[in-house]
């Protein structure tokens, strides 16, 4: 999954009524796209 794929998935989750997203396992802080994905999720209210 690319960062763009994750964002597209987050968008769908938000549209389907998801309330929150959890980034878990391996270790998210070692993932380069983490900051970008957090900001994207917050923008969706997740």
């Amino acid at each position: 999954m690319s960062v763009a794929d994750w964002k597209a998935t987050f968008n769908q989750a938000a549209r389907l009524g998801a309330r929150t997203i959890s980034m878990i396992g391996g270790e998210p802080t070692l993932y380069q796209g983490l900051e970008d994905l957090i900001r994207h999720a917050l923008g969706l209210g997740l």
């Binding site: 999954m1 794929d5 994750w6 597209a8 998935t9 769908q12 989750a13 389907l16 929150t20 997203i21 959890s22 980034m23 878990i24 396992g25 270790e27 998210p28 802080t29 070692l30 983490l34 900051e35 957090i38 900001r39 999720a41 917050l42 209210g45 997740l46």
Partner: protein, 200 residues
């Protein structure tokens, strides 16, 4: 948005992102003892994790700690005391689940908590959708091909199967009411009274 991390490494820049409203942190923690921590995690990171927990708390970022009971005699209580002294207010303890990395035999549905896939789903790094990150063998397909809505529809039977399998176990005990603490010999295999399931 929750980020589940061991907090061994937390660059300033990332701390700033964690401090944004709407972010909460979950942190894994095992012991207050450096050698026990090393034995479990394979890393010499207890001190840095503790320092970063303090940095997170100092920024008033919502934090919960997830402890996993792995070793016999593990210093769980001492670790909880340490965390409480540090100012942590939310500490959960779970047993090791024999799934994923710790798994040494075929995965068993009863190792799951039973709430998988009911109001939650996991998307794995390869795009596969499953009821839970610990239920990888129940993946139903790639979110990029199916779309999330179709993937969730396909996942429904697996989620129902998990719920049914675990319901039977949770309703164990002498009166079949799930009130089996402390655990009794009459309990079914997999009975896990210490695990709290989130209620609606």
């Amino acid at each position: 948005m929750e980020v589940y991390s061991h907090l061994a490494h937390l660059p300033d820049r990332l701390l700033e992102v964690f401090a944004l409203p709407g972010v909460r942190i979950a942190c894994s923690f095992y012991s207050d003892d450096e050698s026990e921590h090393r034995q479990i995690t394979g890393r010499d990171t207890l001190k840095s994790t503790q320092e970063n927990i303090v940095r997170v708390l100092d920024r008033s970022i919502p934090l919960r700690i997830g402890m996993v009971h792995i070793l016999e005699g593990q210093r769980i209580e001492q670790a909880k005391d340490l965390l409480t002294t540090m100012g942590v207010t939310e500490i959960g303890v779970d047993r090791l689940r024999l799934l994923g990395r710790p798994q040494r035999k075929a995965p068993e549905i009863t190792e799951l908590c039973g709430a998988c896939g009911l109001r939650s789903a996991a998307v794995l790094p390869n795009g596969e959708v499953t009821p839970c990150p610990l239920a990888r063998w129940m993946a139903v397909g790639d979110v990029r091909e199916l779309g999330l809505r179709n993937a969730l529809d396909r996942m429904r039977p697996a989620a129902d199967k998990i719920a049914a399998a675990l319901q039977e176990i949770r309703m164990c005990g002498p009166h079949n009411d799930g009130q089996c603490y402390p655990c009794e010999p009459s309990c079914n295999p997999g009975c896990d009274p210490g695990v709290d399931l989130e209620e609606e």
